[in-house]
Symmetry: C2
Subunit: 259 residues, 2 copies
Amino acid sequence: MKKILKVVKTGGKLIDDEERLEKVLTAFAKIKGNKILVHGGGSMASRVSLNLGIKPQMTDGRRITTALDIEIVTMVYAGWINKKIVVKLQQLGCNAVGLSGADGNVIVSRKRPVGEIDYGFVGDIEKVNSGWIQTLLESGLTPVFSAITHGGDGTLLNTNSDTVAAEVAVAMSEKYDTRLMFCFEKKGVLTDVEKNTSVIPIMNWARYQRAKDEKTIHNGMLPKLQMGFDALRRNVSQVMIGDETILEKNPILFTQLKL
Amino acid sequence: MKKILKVVKTGGKLIDDEERLEKVLTAFAKIKGNKILVHGGGSMASRVSLNLGIKPQMTDGRRITTALDIEIVTMVYAGWINKKIVVKLQQLGCNAVGLSGADGNVIVSRKRPVGEIDYGFVGDIEKVNSGWIQTLLESGLTPVFSAITHGGDGTLLNTNSDTVAAEVAVAMSEKYDTRLMFCFEKKGVLTDVEKNTSVIPIMNWARYQRAKDEKTIHNGMLPKLQMGFDALRRNVSQVMIGDETILEKNPILFTQLKL
C-alpha cells in the first residue's frame, strides 16, 4: 500500500490576511505524514509594482509578465511570501524547505509560445522532478513551493499556482496515494458565491459539465475544477476544495470531486 | 582522507555587475567536486528601498534593520538575487538549490541582543545544520545561500554574508577538507587599494596585526581577514581572497591567509 501524501494549495485572500494565513499554517503544520505546500502570491506583487510605479502591461485584456514583472514576482513570491511561510512553519515545528522550480531543477516549464498574445515570462509545466521531492519527504522535510518555475535556459517563469499544485500531485502519484487540497477563503464550491452554506458537497463530472453550461458556478472556479478532474484522471486519489478546515482531521463542510 | 569542499563567497560589486557576475558563476559552475556558494546582496536592496520611499534608519551611524527592511532584504536577497543565481547555475549545468537559513532549519541565528544600539532584525549565527548540507552535497546538489537566517521563533534575520560563508565552512570542516574563498572585485588584499598589482600574496597573522596597527590595509578588509584567520583556527584548511580567477584551477594573483 502506498503512503499518503497531501498536496495543499493555498492562495488568494488567505495569503493577504495574516490571521487566516496563520490558521492555514497552524492546521498544515499539524498534518501528520507526508505533505507539500504550494502557495500563490496574493495581491502583494501588485502592491509592490504599484509602489515602484510600474504599470501592468495588458494585451487584449490579458496580463503580460514583462522582464521587470518576473523580477518583482520572484522577489515577492519566491522571496518574501515563501520565506515568511517557511519561517512560520519552522516555528510551528514543521521542517519546511522553500523551493522555486529552479531549485534542484525541480519544476521545468516551457515559456508559453507566442501566439496571438505574447504572455511574456509565463511558463507551462513540462516536468516535475518527483525523485528529489521524494528524497526530501523521506528525510522528513516539507517542501513549500512558490509558483515560480524555470525554463532550463536561465529564465524564471511565472506559473499558475493551482497548476503547480496539480502537476506536483500528479507527478507524486506514482509513489504515493496523493490527495490534492485546494484551500482558499470559501467553504468549497458554492451555488451562491455569497453564501458559505451553499457548498456543493460532491461535485461529479456530469454536474460540473451542467454547471458550466448553465453558468451556475463562479467563473473563477471553473479552471480549478477542470484541473481537479484532470488530476483525478491522472491518478491523484482525492481532490478537495474548501477553506483551512479541510486540513483538519474530520472536516465537515467542503467540496469533494468525483469523476 | 577527507573530500575537498570549496565554500565560495561572492558579493559586493560582483553582484551588481551583470557581466562580472556571469563570469563568477561560469567559473563557479566549472569547479569539480563539492562546492557551496554564499552570496551577498549588492546595492539592489537599497535601490528597492529608495524606490519604495523607505529611508534607512540609522542609530549612531549604524544601520538598523527594521521590520520593513527585513521584508525588503528577504525579497531581494532570498528572492530575486538567489533565484537569479540558481537559474543561471542550472543553465550552466550546475544543480543548484537556493537556501535561506530558515529552509530545512539550516542556519539558526540569535537576534543580536539590544545593547547600546538595537540593530533590529540582525542575526548572529548559532548553529549550522551541517548534516543536511552534507546530504545535499552527496545527492550532487550545490547549495546557494543568501545571507538571511532565522531565529527559530518565526523571525527572519539579516546576517553578514562573509560570516555565513565562514560559519558554513567551519561547520563543514568536520566532514570535509574545507577551503574558504572570498571572491570580490579586487585581486586580493592590496597595499594600495587603487592598484591591483599591489596584492599581498601571503598574509600571515603577524603581518595582519602589523597592518592593522599601521593602518596600511583598507578598513573594509579587516573584518574579512579576522574572519579568515578565525576560520583557519577552527579547522578550515585554506582561506583565499581574490577575484573570480581564484575559482579557476591555477590562479595566479590572490591573497592566501596563513596563521
